[in-house]
C-alpha cells in the first residue's frame, strides 16, 4: 500500500498522538503580545477528495486541536494574520477585511533547477541534486541574518522536492508587499525563462552579497557539478556549459578527455581572454552561479496573504512529514531519511520505526529561542523607561 493510500487511516492517529500542538500554538501566538494574533490567523485545509477550505481560524490551542482532529486535513497551509477572524470574514464590511502581517517566507523548489540538473527532473530528487538545497540554505540563511539582520529563521523540508524558510522576526512579519519583493529580488541572481540561455550576468563592481554567495558556491561546485552532475562529461551537457561562454571553445574542451581537467582548461582559456582585454570577465563565476545558485519563487515571498504549507504537515503524495531542518547538521540532512506517515508508526516490516522526536525538539528550541529573545527585548524596553 502506498503512503497516500494510508493517509485516511493514519492521519487521525498522527493528529492525536504526534502533531506538536503545544509548540505550534506557542509559535503562532508570538507571546500574546499583539491581541488576537493567533485568533486572526488564517489556516487552510485540504481535505480528502481534494476539498479545499480557506479562512479557517481558531480561538485557542484547544479549538485548533479539536478541529484538526475532527477534519483530519491531508494538508495544512498557514496564511496571514488578518484584521478580523478569518472564519468570520463574510460578516465583515467589504473592503475592511485585510491581511495585516505574516512571516516572510521563501520557497525553493527543485523543479526550478531542471535546466541545470542531469540526474533528475520535475518532482524527482536524489542525494546528488539535494546538494542544491544545501547550497541554497547556506546562501539565503547567511544573507537573511547578516545582511538583513533577521534572527528567527525556521527552515523546513517541504516533503517532496524542496525547502521552505519562515522568517519569524517581528520586523519580518510587518513587512509590506514592496519590501518582501525587494528582499526577494536582492536575493535573485538567476534570471530568465525558457527563452534565456545565459541566466547570470555579472559586471563590475561585484556586490558584496554576490561575493559571499560565490564563496559558498565555490565550496560545493567541484563535488556537485563536476563530479556529481558531471557537467563536463558529455558533449550534450558540455554544449550547455559552453553556450554560456563568450567564445566557441567547445572543440578545445573536447580535446581534453578528463571532465575535471576540462573545467580547468575552461578557466585557463577565460583567463587568457581576460589578460588581453580591458573589461572584466566573470565567465567562471557566472557558470557556477547558473548551475548552483538558489532559485526562488518571488511570488511566494511577495504576498502578505500567500498561504504556505505548514511545518509538520504531511505531504499527500510522498507521505513525508514537513520537518524542520537542523542547520547545525545541514551536511548530513537526507530527505530520504525523513519520517513518513507510515514509518513514524513503524508500518514497515523491514525498517525500524522512525521518530519525530528530534524534529519536535528542534521546533521546540526554535520557539523557546524566540520567547527568550522577546523577554530580553521587553526587559530592555522597561529598563529604558525606568531611566525616566
Amino acid at each position: 500500500m502506498s503512503e497516500a493510500a494510508c493517509l485516511p487511516e493514519l492521519l487521525p492517529l498522527y493528529y492525536r498522538r504526534l502533531f506538536p500542538f503545544s509548540q505550534y500554538h506557542r509559535w503562532l501566538s508570538y507571546g500574546g503580545v499583539t491581541k488576537n494574533y493567533f485568533q486572526n490567523r488564517e489556516f487552510s485545509f485540504t481535505l480528502k477528495d481534494d476539498i479545499y477550505v480557506r479562512y479557517q481560524s481558531f480561538s485557542n490551542q484547544n479549538e485548533l486541536e479539536k478541529e484538526i482532529q475532527k477534519m483530519n486535513p491531508y494538508k495544512i497551509d498557514i496564511g496571514a494574520v488578518y484584521s478580523h477572524r478569518p472564519n468570520q470574514h463574510n460578516t465583515v464590511k467589504s473592503g475592511t477585511f485585510q491581511a495585516l502581517e505574516k512571516e516572510l517566507v521563501f520557497d525553493i523548489d527543485m523543479t526550478d533547477y531542471d535546466d541545470v540538473r542531469r540526474c533528475c527532473s520535475s518532482a524527482d530528487i536524489c542525494t546528488k541534486c539535494w546538494i542544491l538545497m544545501t547550497i541554497a540554505i547556506r546562501i539565503i540563511d547567511r544573507a537573511l541574518r547578516e545582511d538583513f539582520g533577521f534572527r528567527h529563521l525556521l527552515w523546513v523540508y517541504s516533503g517532496r522536492r524542496g525547502v521552505h524558510c519562515w522568517v519569524c522576526d517581528e520586523a519580518a512579519r510587518k513587512l509590506s508587499v514592496a519590501a518582501r519583493s525587494a528582499v526577494a529580488e536582492y536575493l535573485t541572481l538567476v534570471k530568465g525563462g525558457e527563452e534565456t540561455v545565459k541566466k547570470v550576468q555579472l559586471s563590475d563592481p561585484v556586490h558584496p552579497f554576490i561575493k559571499e554567495s560565490l564563496a559558498v558556491v565555490r565550496r560545493y561546485f567541484t563535488d556537485y557539478a563536476l563530479v556529481g552532475q558531471d557537467i563536463m562529461g558529455s558533449k550534450e551537457s558540455m554544449d550547455k556549459v559552453v553556450a554560456l561562454v563568450p567564445d566557441d571553445i567547445l572543440a578545445a574542451l573536447q580535446a581534453e578527455k578528463n571532465p575535471t581537467k576540462r573545467w580547468e582548461k575552461l578557466k585557463v582559456i577565460v583567463q587568457q581572454k581576460q589578460a588581453s582585454s580591458k573589461k572584466s570577465y566573470y565567465t567562471e563565476e557566472e557558470i557556477m552561479l547558473q548551475y548552483c545558485y538558489p532559485r526562488l519563487d518571488v511570488n511566494v515571498s511577495k504576498g502578505v496573504n500567500h498561504l504556505l504549507k505548514s511545518p509538520f504537515s504531511v505531504h499527500p503524495k510522498t507521505g513525508r512529514i514537513s520537518v524542520p531542518i537542523d542547520l547545525r547538521e545541514l551536511g548530513q540532512f537526507n530527505p530520504f531519511d525523513v519520517p513518513t506517515i507510515r514509518s513514524v508508526f513503524g508500518i514497515f516490516s523491514d525498517y525500524k520505526r522512525t521518530s519525530l522526536a528530534k524534529y519536535v525538539k528542534l521546533f521546540d528550541q526554535f520557539v523557546e529561542e524566540m520567547e527568550r529573545s522577546r523577554k530580553g527585548e521587553l526587559l530592555r524596553r522597561t529598563d529604558l523607561q525606568k531611566d525616566f
Binding site: 533577521f150 513587512l175 519590501a179 525563462g193 525558457e194 527563452e195 534565456t196 541566466k199 561575493k211
Partner: protein
C-alpha cells in the same frame, strides 16, 4: 478645499512656510478658496506636464541631458516652479515664484481627485509624479537638497569615519560610481532597509544588519520611496471621499474627463463576444496575435500546459479578444487533458481560476487583460515560464532565431533588434506588426496586446468587424506607451457650469497627439 465663485483677494497668507522651498511632498492640502477658472487651468496645465513626463520617459533615458533639458523647458513654459537661484530662506520676493509654487501645490491635489479611482489610474499618476519629482530634486543645488531633507524630517544618521574605514571595500563594491576617494568624501547614511527598497532591490547599496548604507548621492531614491508610499496612501484615502466631490456638478465633468482621457481603451469590456471560434485560434495566433501571445499559444500547444503567469497573461488576452467563459473552459480543458492533467484535476484546480478571470469567483472583479506596460514591467519570467514580452525578456540571439522562424526579412530583424537595444520594446513590436502585415506605418501607437489583435483583424478583414471609435491620425514619431486619443470625449451634462471654452480646450488637447 472650499469652492466659491469668487477669486481670492490679495496674496496675504499664512502659507509662507509651506512654500518656503520650490519642491514639496504635498503633505498638506490647500486650504484656500479657489475659482473654478483657476481650478480648471491648473488641472489642465499639470495634466499637460505629466503627459510630457510620460512621453519623455518612454523615449529617453530619464537621467540623460536631453531628457532634463526638454522637461525643464516644459516646466518653465507651463509656469511650474523649478530650481531657483532665489534664496529659500526669505519669503520669495518675486510674486510669480510664489504663484508657481502655489499652482504646483493646488494642481497636484486636483489631479489626485481625478486619478484616485482605479488601480490603473493611481499607478499612472504615481509613476509620473515620481518621475517629475526625481527630475526636480536632482536639479537642485546640494545645499537646496539638504535644506529639503531637513524640512521634511528625513534625518538619517551618517556613519562614523571609523565605521566607514572598516567597511571601505564593501562600500566601494556596492555601486559602480565609487572609488576609494569618493567613498571617503561622501557622507553615508545608515537607513533601515525598509526605507531604501529600490536601492536594496537592485543591490545598489551595501546592506548589513538590516541597514542600507546609502551614499548622499543616492538619497533621492530614499526620498522617492517615501514619496511613493505617502502618495499611495493619500490616493487611497482620497478615493473614499470622492463621492462627495463628484456630486458637485461643477467638478464632475472635468474630473471624469481628466481621468478618462488617460484610460481610454483597456479592453476590460468585452466586445465581439463569441465572434471567435476555437478552431480559428491556431491560425489567428500566427496572423493576428502579438509575439508574446503567439509564443504562449505555441508553448501551450506543445506542452499542453502553462504555468500561472502564462495562464494569466494568455487567458486574459483570450478573454479580451472575445472568448466566452464556456469557450475558454473548453479550450483550456481540451489542451490540458492532452497533457498530464486528468479531467478531475482540471475541474477542481484550473477551472476555478479561469472562472476567476471572468469575474465569476472570489472577489468577482472582472480582471483586465494586461497592457504592454504591465507585461513588460511586472512578473518577469523565470525557468519554465513562457510569459512576458519577447522583446524585453528573450535573449537577443533567441529572439532573432524566433523572428527568422516567423519568416521576417533580415533587414526587418535588424531594425527590430536595434529598437530592442534602445529598450523601445513596444516600438519593436509595432515594427513586427508592420513587417508581418506588409505595411509601412502601423497607424497606431501600440500599448496593448489586444490592441495589436484588433488592429490586425481590422487590416485583414477590411475593417468590417470592429467599429473604430475614433480615427487616430498617422503618427510616425508616436511614442510607445502613451495613448489616449482613442478616448471618446465626454459630453458634459447640460447642468454643468464649466465654461465651454475650457472644455473645448481640453477636447482639442486630448485629441492633438
Amino acid at each position: 478645499m472650499l469652492f466659491g465663485g469668487r477669486k481670492k483677494k490679495g496674496v496675504e497668507n499664512p502659507q509662507t512656510e509651506l512654500y518656503g522651498h520650490c519642491l514639496q511632498l504635498y503633505t498638506q492640502p490647500p486650504l484656500e478658496n479657489i475659482s473654478l477658472v483657476e481650478f480648471e487651468q491648473f488641472a489642465v496645465d499639470r495634466m499637460k506636464l505629466l503627459k510630457t513626463v510620460e512621453n519623455l520617459g518612454v523615449t529617453h533615458i530619464k537621467t540623460s541631458e536631453d531628457y532634463s533639458k526638454k522637461l525643464h523647458a516644459e516646466i518653465s513654459s507651463l509656469n511650474f516652479p523649478h530650481r531657483t537661484e532665489v534664496s529659500t530662506f526669505i519669503v520669495p520676493a518675486v510674486a510669480s515664484e510664489y504663484e508657481k509654487r502655489r499652482k504646483d501645490h493646488i494642481s497636484h491635489f486636483i489631479l489626485r481627485l481625478a486619478y484616485c479611482q482605479t488601480e490603473d489610474l493611481r499607478r499612472w499618476f504615481i509613476q509620473q509624479e515620481m518621475d517629475l519629482f526625481r527630475h526636480r530634486f536632482n536639479d537642485l543645488s546640494p545645499k537646496s537638497k539638504s535644506d529639503f531633507l531637513h524640512r521634511n524630517s528625513l534625518q538619517y544618521e551618517t556613519i562614523s569615519v571609523e565605521e566607514k574605514k572598516s567597511l571601505m571595500e564593501k562600500l566601494i563594491n556596492s555601486s559602480y560610481a565609487f572609488s576609494g576617494c569618493t567613498v571617503e568624501e561622501q557622507d553615508f547614511y545608515k537607513v533601515p532597509f525598509q526605507d531604501a527598497l529600490d536601492l536594496v532591490r537592485m543591490r545598489k547599496v551595501f546592506v548589513k544588519d538590516g541597514f542600507a548604507y546609502v551614499p548622499h548621492q543616492d538619497i533621492v531614491t530614499i526620498v522617492l520611496n517615501d514619496y511613493r508610499t505617502r502618495l499611495s496612501k493619500a490616493l487611497a484615502l482620497t478615493a473614499r471621499s470622492l463621492p462627495v466631490v463628484q456630486s458637485d456638478e461643477r467638478l464632475q465633468p472635468l474630473l471624469s474627463h481628466l481621468s478618462h482621457a488617460y484610460v481610454g481603451q483597456d479592453y476590460s469590456i468585452q466586445k465581439n463576444i463569441g465572434k471567435i471560434s476555437l478552431e480559428q485560434i491556431d491560425s489567428l495566433s500566427t496572423k493576428s496575435f502579438p509575439p508574446c501571445m503567439r509564443q504562449l499559444h505555441k508553448a501551450l500547444r506543445d506542452s499542453h500546459h502553462l504555468r500561472h503567469g502564462g495562464r494569466m497573461q494568455y487567458g486574459l488576452f483570450l478573454k479580451g479578444i472575445g472568448l466566452t467563459l464556456d469557450q475558454a473552459l473548453q479550450f483550456w480543458r481540451a489542451e490540458f487533458l492532452r497533457g498530464k492533467v486528468d479531467a478531475d484535476k482540471f475541474d477542481k484546480a484550473y477551472a476555478y481560476s479561469i472562472r476567476h478571470m471572468f469575474g465569476k469567483e472570489g472577489k468577482r472583479t472582472d480582471y483586465t487583460p494586461y497592457s504592454c506596460m504591465k507585461v513588460i514591467l511586472s512578473n518577469p519570467p523565470s525557468q519554465g515560464d513562457h510569459h512576458g514580452c519577447p522583446f524585453r525578456h528573450s535573449d537577443p540571439e533567441l529572439l532573432k532565431q524566433k523572428l527568422q522562424s516567423y519568416k521576417i526579412s533580415s533587414g526587418g530583424i535588424n531594425q527590430i533588434l536595434e529598437l530592442v537595444k534602445g529598450m523601445h520594446y513596444q516600438l519593436a513590436c509595432q515594427k513586427y506588426f508592420e513587417l508581418t502585415h506588409s505595411i509601412d506605418d502601423a497607424g497606431f501607437s501600440l500599448n496593448h496586446p489586444n490592441q495589436y489583435f484588433s488592429e490586425s483583424q481590422k487590416l485583414l478583414t477590411g475593417g468590417k468587424e470592429v467599429k473604430r471609435e475614433l480615427d487616430s491620425p498617422r503618427r510616425p514619431h508616436a511614442a510607445a506607451g502613451s495613448e489616449n486619443s482613442k478616448a471618446p470625449p465626454e459630453t458634459p451634462s447640460s447642468s454643468n457650469r464649466v465654461p465651454q471654452e475650457v472644455m473645448d480646450d481640453l477636447d482639442s488637447f486630448f485629441q492633438e497627439e
